[in-house]
Amino acid sequence: MAVAQQKTLAMNGDEAVALAVKQSDVDVVAAYPITPQTIIVERLSEYVANGEVETEFVCTESEHSALTACLAASATGARTFTASASAGLALMHEILYVTSGCRAPVVMAIANRALSAPINIHCDHSDSMVERDSCWIQIYAENSQETYDSMIQSFRIAEHLQVLLPVMVCLDAFVLSHTLENVQILADETVRKFVGVRQFPLVMGHEGKEVPFKLDPNNPITMGPLDLHDYYFEHKRQQEEAMKIAPRIIKEIHEEFSRISGRKYGNGLIEAYRLEDADIATVCVGSTAGTTKTVVDHLRTKGTKAGLLRLRTFRPLPLTEIMGALENVKALAIMDRSNSFGGSGGPIYHEIRHSMYDAPTHPHIVNYIYGLGGRDMPPTTILNIYKDLQEILQTKKVKRDVQFAGVRQ
């Protein structure tokens, strides 16, 4: 398949999300506005008002209701989308679990924003990281282009018959959501053909026959009923299995999309940047990776063997890929844009450090909590982290395992 014809448009990350939803033949959008996600639902409501899409737009009274409406519509077989951030995502918390438990392939964009208090509308990853156990697939985009591409892929991933899990596409507040970028856009019909029509697996219903997995009066089924100590655990085990299968599906769909778009983001799960011979490296998610790549390039011109590992998916966490990519690194800094208060560092640090336990050789690992509440992460701060790593490489000693980058003393 040849790379499809594309045109370049200047748009911010939110607009890129809205356009991807418009092109992906979405049946129902239910949403409640919250900064910095608002542009997404504003654009979508304009598309609906202008008659450019056949989508049903449901204005709800809260985010709790917005996700509930998406879940219910998804259960009837509709392709659904919503968007949220920060307090809005926190209000959805209960329904996040209901959505994944009902195996409803809802797709949601998260414009990552700090949680109150004190109130703050700017970027950090506290809102989505706290939902890492809710059985939603999480994709973190580095730029608006990747946001657009990931949105289109997400409908395919979520609805894949072996996955059937909801997907969050996370984009950094303002850095991506409100910043104009050149974005390569596929034609409507190309996207529509790629996402296709939602399919349904067959399940055994209570009438003793196999029926499509959707709420349909002609083939009635019950989903998400009372489920006690006799079967609840088995249903949770099924969800874990879907998460185990998901990495392969995400890679396949990413590969298939790259054939029409000409764009790739690592292998779809992780992106290793100049890591092959790197002695020192950082790990991060989201837009900070873009700045870090510039710093890595700068260090390479000076002869420093620096690299970067960007996680594109945090759920599922591609442990094998991560260990493989980092196997030759000697000093490693994990960068977390959220904190686990009273724990031992941020969530990405916890999991990467844990994955290293079984590795034949361990790098020295440090954790930097950075950028909370939209605190800028300039190249100079990142450069200082690589300088710390060089010192660790020479002294073979980690002075403090968890540090805060960019906070005033």
Binding site: G101, V203, F213, T222, M223, P225, E234, R237
Partner: protein, 95 residues
């Protein structure tokens, strides 16, 4: 672990019920069970209406009410509401 229950690979996803609720017996939840006193019963048929589990039926053959202990959860509402005091709750296995 109960060997008659299915494993996670053998059940539908998302809690979809593969058999009707009439085959999912919930009567073993109860601690107390209702006992009917036919002498006192006026056959007003209030109890079949108020039973939250539809576990009290009118038997047309012998013209008596009867409990479906496969579904009675032993809540005791029938005993509490019976105007003729014709239902008493006794501990399961205590008779």
């Amino acid at each position: 672990m109960n060997k008659t229950l299915k494993g996670w690979k053998d059940i539908p996803i998302a809690g979809v019920c593969w058999k009707p609720a009439t085959q999912y017996l919930t009567g073993d939840w109860k601690t107390f069970k209702p006992i009917h006193d036919a002498e006192k019963c006026t056959k007003c048929l209030l109890c079949p209406m108020i039973c939250p589990d539809s576990a009290i039926k009118w038997n047309q053959t012998n013209e008596e009410i009867e409990f479906d202990y496969d579904f009675c959860k032993g809540c005791g509402i029938c005993a509490n509401e019976c105007p003729a005091d014709a239902i008493k709750m006794v501990r399961e296995g205590g008779e």
